[in-house]
């Protein structure tokens, strides 16, 4: 068996590796190179060294976008995971209509980001119109608008992962805890949560990276208005690339820095939650 796997490894892995190289590794390396260049089109570049990286520091919008994104990530990771977990708990109790609710909660996830952004823009603006305001009244409105949107979209997906995790908790463990006189809270804290830690790792990783690199929803919901105060990093990079002649490289440099930050945070998070996982 081992030998067969080794022998057929190239056949099965090659297509994926080829696609991954073409679609990810090559553009990624090109992107790093481009961040040191000045260019209009990516085939016609001029090497300029660290100029683009120096330019970033003269751009206050980037730092603002970073803070905004960080804050957004913290809030959305917490809310999405807490709500998703609560709903998952409710929907594993065997109440009537469980399957129907699971489907309903999962459905928002099937709609694309841009569409969602516009739908929520209409909905929220419809409510705010009663007060003579819109979502782009200030950055705070945009912030909470994005939180609502992301919660609505992602809770269902995370819920499914949590449901799978909760259903895998052995019944004997809970039963044993109950016989020992544990309250519901104690069962949750000392048995269920440690046992679903792998799901928590996955869900927090997914929500963290999704929130950090959020683009479509941001573009459709507020487009960074007013005055870039609801602009997240991905949108900031995009705008840098397209709205100033000669700043394509600076946008690329921002993207490289952004990648390093996201990778570092995601790895730290992964390590942290991994260490809390228990073996069954």
């Amino acid at each position: 068996m081992e030998k067969a796997i080794k022998r057929y490894f190239p056949i099965f892995a090659l297509p994926t590796i080829a696609a991954f190289t073409l679609g990810f590794i090559v553009p990624f390396l090109m992107g790093i190179y481009l961040s040191f260049c000045e260019f209009t089109t990516i085939t016609d570049t001029k090497f300029v060294g660290l100029k683009n990286y120096i330019r970033i520091f003269s751009d206050p919008t980037f730092l603002h976008a970073l803070w905004f994104t960080a804050l957004f990530t913290v809030v959305s990771v917490l809310t999405i995971n807490v709500f998703a977990f609560i709903i998952a708990m409710l929907l594993t109790k065997g109440i009537k209509g469980t399957n129907f609710f699971r489907t309903v909660f999962f459905m928002p996830n099937l709609i694309g980001g841009i569409v969602l952004g516009y739908i929520w823009q209409i909905l929220l603006n419809g409510i705010l119109a009663n007060f003579g305001r819109t979502l782009t009244y200030s950055g705070t409105y945009g912030f909470w608008g994005l939180i609502v949107l992301m919660n609505w979209q992602q809770i269902g997906y995370m819920m499914i992962i949590y449901i799978a995790g909760i259903q895998n908790v052995p019944g004997e463990l809970i039963e044993a805890a109950k016989i020992d006189g544990a309250t519901n809270w104690q069962v949750l804290k000392n048995v269920t949560i440690p046992m679903v830690m792998p799901s928590i790792t996955i869900c927090s990783f997914l929500t963290l990276t999704n929130s950090f690199k959020l683009f479509d929803q941001n573009l459709a919901l507020t487009a960074g208005e007013p005055s870039n105060s609801s602009q997240m990093v991905a949108l900031n990079i995009f705008e840098t690339f397209y709205t100033r002649t000669g700043w394509e490289g600076a946008g690329q440099a921002k993207a490289v820095i952004f990648f390093i930050i996201v990778a570092a945070i995601a790895m730290a998070q992964n390590r942290m939650t991994r260490s809390k996982e228990v073996q069954q």
Binding site: Y8, I11, F12, L14, P15, A18, A19, T40, T41, I42, T43, D44, R55, S58, Q121, N125, A129, F131, G132, R133, T134, L135, T136, Y137, S138, A223, E225, P226, S227, N228, E239, Y242, T243, R244, T245, G246, W247
Partner: protein, 481 residues
């Protein structure tokens, strides 16, 4: 053994689907030039060669093909039709792709590095040319250049070569509903007795204020459903350019005039108080609350004017087609519409005309093959000299062109263009399009955001001034260092 064969087959099937995904869309383009996606040049070249062989007399069947990346979505259908006609007559493949509204730069950036790059694209003026100068072929020897009525319509690079040629001259101002205004003039205590009396900011503001205050009275008397004097000054991306670019042109124009310059690295903002009073007028005497402006789109403003819910609407000649398109079901008719200059309150503005200029320059890709370049030039020449081309440009697209070939009877049937001609004939000075010298898109966005925040009450006018003046210097330095 059987299993091995099976697994190899499976793997092959997987790989095949993978690559099928990449190359699959070519087949869907056999419709030829009218499909809205780039046809492969090979197909194009083949078709051209075949047709050329069949029609040996054709002079243009040199094997080249044309790929035009069109900027104006509203003229997409007309270009597709024109391209098809040309292909039918000469056998030369012409592909027209239109970039979605507001995404031209992005589309061009990605299209031009492709193997089948656009042979014909456009830039919006000196600032646009700065990023595309390496891709613009020198057109000074071309026939279309020789047909220009005025060399000023050619866009020249630093070396003095002709990099772009304007193909449409456009005009904007305040579009107004003549019928409603005339009805208003007949009312008791109307501020004016005739529309012609509006020739400065004070009168315009007095009229707008009065209409806004007496909306119900006007509606009752004449059966309109007016909601405001001006249409909503929407700050959604589909509409904000009317203010951050077009309206902002006026203070810049007057400052340039005063200093006798045509571009600058630092604007002073001497006329910003005029800009403010105009913006105040737009957001106060309007169909909607200022707090709702950020979500108002260009289409909404258009339909407000079209449905006779507003009297004044700042926009340009290009709106004529939409406003008169029967499919839109608008109440306003061509005879009811006209255009007046944007009076912002500058001294002597009684002699100001409409804002005329061009931000649409044709450029031929200097990196395309010689055959494709020639094919492109031939195509352009055909567009501005043949009956079909001239008819399409003047009557279907509704363009006023800067070419002498249109003089004999190909004048666009457009009331706004006629209004412009009338103002020019009356000796009014047209306002030049200085907004092509705005340092970057980022500058416009900064001004637009500040305008919006001022309108909805979350920011003050000082922020607009700062975005306008300091933003100009910052952006100019950022782009030019």
């Amino acid at each position: 053994m059987k299993r091995k064969v099976l697994s190899v087959m499976l793997a092959t099937a997987m790989t095949a689907t993978l690559f099928a995904g990449c190359g699959g869309d070519d087949k869907t383009q056999e419709g030829g030039s009218t499909t809205p996606a780039p046809a492969g040049t090979e197909d194009g070249a083949d078709a051209g060669a075949d047709a050329g062989a069949a029609d040996a007399g054709s002079q243009t069947a040199s094997g080249g093909s044309v790929y035009y990346l069109n900027f104006k979505p509203e003229q997409n259908d007309a270009w597709q039709e024109l391209a098809a006609t040309y292909t039918e007559q000469t056998g030369v493949e012409v592909t027209v792709i239109t970039a979605a509204d507001g995404t031209y730069e992005q589309t061009l950036k990605s299209e031009i590095v492709k193997e089948e790059a656009p042979t014909l694209f456009q830039v919006n003026g000196p600032v646009g040319l700065a990023s595309w100068k390496d891709y613009c072929m020198d057109l000074s020897g071309s026939e279309i250049f020789s047909h220009l009525t005025n060399e000023g319509y050619a866009l020249k690079n630093d070396a003095g070569e002709v990099s772009g040629i304007a193909y449409v001259v456009e005009t904007y101002g305040i579009i107004y509903n003549k019928k409603i205004l005339n009805d208003y003039c007949t009312m008791d205590n109307a501020v004016i007795a005739s529309v012609d009396e509006i020739n400065n900011f004070e009168t315009l503001k007095a009229v707008a204020d009065d209409i806004q205050a007496r909306l119900d009275e006007i509606n009752d008397a004449f059966g309109y459903e007016l909601k405001g004097a001006f249409t909503s000054a929407g700050m959604d991306g589909s509409s904000d350019w009317r203010f951050k670019t077009h309206l902002a042109n006026l203070p810049i124009y007057y400052e340039y005039q005063e200093k006798g310059i045509s571009t600058t690295d630092a604007i002073e903002g001497t006329y910003l108080d005029k800009y403010k009073q105009m913006w105040d007028l737009y957001i106060t005497d309007a169909t909607c609350e200022p707090g709702l402006l950020s979500s108002k789109t260009g289409d909404e403003a258009e339909s407000e004017f079209g449905m006779e819910e507003a009297v004044f609407y700042q926009n340009g000649t290009w709106e004529y087609g939409n406003l008169t398109n029967e499919d839109n079901g608008y109440l306003v008719t061509a005879e009811d519409m006209s255009m007046m200059p944007i009076y912002i309150g500058v001294e002597g503005e009684e002699n100001q005309g409409l804002c005329s200029g061009s931000e649409n320059y044709w450029c031929v890709n200097s990196k395309a093959s010689a055959e494709d370049q020639q094919a492109t030039l031939d195509f352009l020449n055909w567009v501005i000299t043949s009956d079909e081309g001239r008819d399409s440009m003047a009557n279907v697209m509704g363009f006023t062109t800067p070419f002498d070939t249109f003089a004999d009877g190909y004048v666009a049937d457009n009331v706004f263009i006629q209004a412009d001609a009338a103002y020019t004939a009356a000796g009014k000075t047209p306002v030049a399009w200085c907004f092509t010298t705005m340092p970057s898109e980022n500058w416009k966005n900064g001004v637009g955001s500040a305008l919006l925040e001022y309108a909805q009450g979350t920011g003050d006018w000082a922020a607009v001034e700062s975005a306008f003046v300091e933003g100009w210097a910052t952006e100019y330095a950022a782009v030019n260092n």
